[in-house]
């Protein structure tokens, strides 16, 4: 990851910037809505967050080495809506297909149990219910740390 950040610094113009977006660990929620009414809200069973920890360590390292300077950062909510649990799971399965990390069977079992509860609530609610997956993203602008004379 640090090597990738070094390469990015190389590819950026001296007055350019890097925008990093990554998830905030343990921030995800699942909701069921019917119109504006929330029928269900629960934390989504979190992964161990190791990938995010590694990403944040890499970012901290390049800042410490003064390759980049953090200019600003913030957080935002990203919500994904689906009309069924199956649709939501299919969507995430496509994304997770690229995750080459080790599988955690206990975590998968917790998530499957939660999806079953969500499905039950949606079935009972009938037409118009939708499931929403909320996650929080952290966004950071980092500028290459160049000498002033390079900008002239």
């Amino acid at each position: 990851m640090v090597h990738a950040l070094e390469e990015i610094q190389h590819l950026l113009k001296p007055d350019g910037c890097l925008i990093d977006i990554h998830p905030v660990p343990k921030s995800s929620l699942i909701n069921v809505y019917q119109g504006s009414r929330a029928l269900f809200a629960e934390s989504y069973p979190p992964s161990d967050g190791e990938d995010v920890r590694q990403a944040e360590a890499a970012l901290a390292q390049v800042v410490q080495r003064r390759l980049f300077v953090i200019e600003r950062s913030g957080e935002f909510d990203l919500t994904t809506f689906a009309s069924s649990v199956a649709e939501l799971r299919e969507f995430f399965a496509k994304i997770d297909a690229y995750d080459d990390g080790p599988k955690d069977d206990a975590l998968e079992a917790q998530r499957t149990a939660q999806y079953a509860r969500v499905e039950e609530i949606m079935r009972a609610a009938g037409d118009g219910a939708e499931v929403a997956f909320h996650e929080r993203g952290r966004i950071t602008r980092m500028n290459p740390n160049v000498r002033k004379e390079e900008l002239i």
């Binding site: 590819l11 113009k13 977006i21 990554h22 990203l78 689906a82």
Partner: protein, 100 residues
Amino acid sequence: MTIKVDPGNNEPRALFDLADFNGQRVLEIGCGDGRLTWRYADRAGHVTAIDAFAESIARAKENIPDELKDHVEFRHIAFEDFAAKSESSTFDRAILSWSL
């Protein structure tokens, strides 16, 4: 109903709050199926969006809006390979899109 991701546009709003994309030359690393790319590309001068996964890039190419075709280039390539073949000081903006 199809899947709706970020219907409130919170992610592009956060992006535009941090950087100006008007006329900029942008590299997006880990663009996936182009979900975020579509939301800023109309402002950019040129976008090179890369991803190491062929299926994602195929979906992005398939779904690219006509009006963006002339200035968005999707490439199936790993970042290390892309960096090795690219010249330095090429891009105004680089985006690591949930991909570091």
